[in-house]
């Protein structure tokens, strides 16, 4: 069985968001993290064809935060401090997308992460974002990194 990404200590099957979306975290050797998922009908916008950009924002915050947790020597709870997103293209309901986050750095207990959502083939950019996270907020310790 493949080793779980540290973020999956937080996003277990008991986590309501994980229960809603089928999310598996795949970390890369380049301090990145990817999640592949289908855009859910539960986030459909007025046209019923596309999902609302609120879905982009939700997934970006989730995957970028998970990427930050994965880079910490000792995984601890984090909290989003700032999230800035640009939405370029609407995603269709049911369309498979890849959300990729890339760790940039950490300074003064703040983690800096970049993220994007692309079509599953990787050619169409739907959103890109930058986020900062406060490292070590209230919550249950996540345990030692394996």
């Amino acid at each position: 069985m493949a080793e779980l990404h540290p973020a999956q200590l937080l996003f277990t099957e008991k986590h309501p968001l994980t229960a809603e979306f089928d999310m598996t975290f795949h970390s890369g050797d380049d301090h990145s993290l990817e999640v592949r998922l289908d855009a859910p009908a539960s986030f459909a916008d007025q046209d019923g064809i596309h999902v609302h950009t609120g879905f982009h924002t939700l997934i970006l915050d989730t995957v970028m935060g998970a990427c930050a947790i994965g880079e910490l020597k000792t995984p601890v709870p984090i909290a989003t401090v700032k999230l800035t997103s640009n939405h370029l293209r609407n995603i269709k309901v049911g369309e498979q997308v890849v959300c990729r986050a890339e760790w940039e750095d950490e300074a003064h207990s703040i983690a800096y992460v970049r993220g994007e959502i692309r079509s599953a083939e990787g050619n169409l950019l739907a959103s890109h974002a930058v986020a900062t996270f406060m490292i070590g907020t209230a919550g249950k310790p996540l345990g030692k990194k394996k």
Partner: protein, 126 residues
Amino acid sequence: MSALFKTNISGWLKAEPTERPSVYKTTFAERHLGNIWIRSLHGGVTGSMIELSAEAETRLHTSDSEELKIVSSSIDYLRISKDVDLFARTDIERLSKRLSVVNVTCWQDDEDIPIARGIVTIRIMR
């Protein structure tokens, strides 16, 4: 009520307008949790609500024939949230023929203690 509040995403967020002009509400649900140990809202839920509220407010000032596209949002998380309802007060900073720029302030128990604020830019397609 705007058609935006009859959409699936509004149902997921449990978002609706309030009796106060320019103020919107999301009723807390378990699926909105981010940190399940301290039971705080997911930052993405707050972000989604900020974008949805900005769009709803812009819709009140545009015609149905104009298509709205959210092009960017920038959100500052000011305080730890908790497992109660979330309110969003919107203020259109600038509405031109092609763009709407909306400030959104979110709070839970006390309007004077905001938990997040955001600025959303919306393209108006005529």
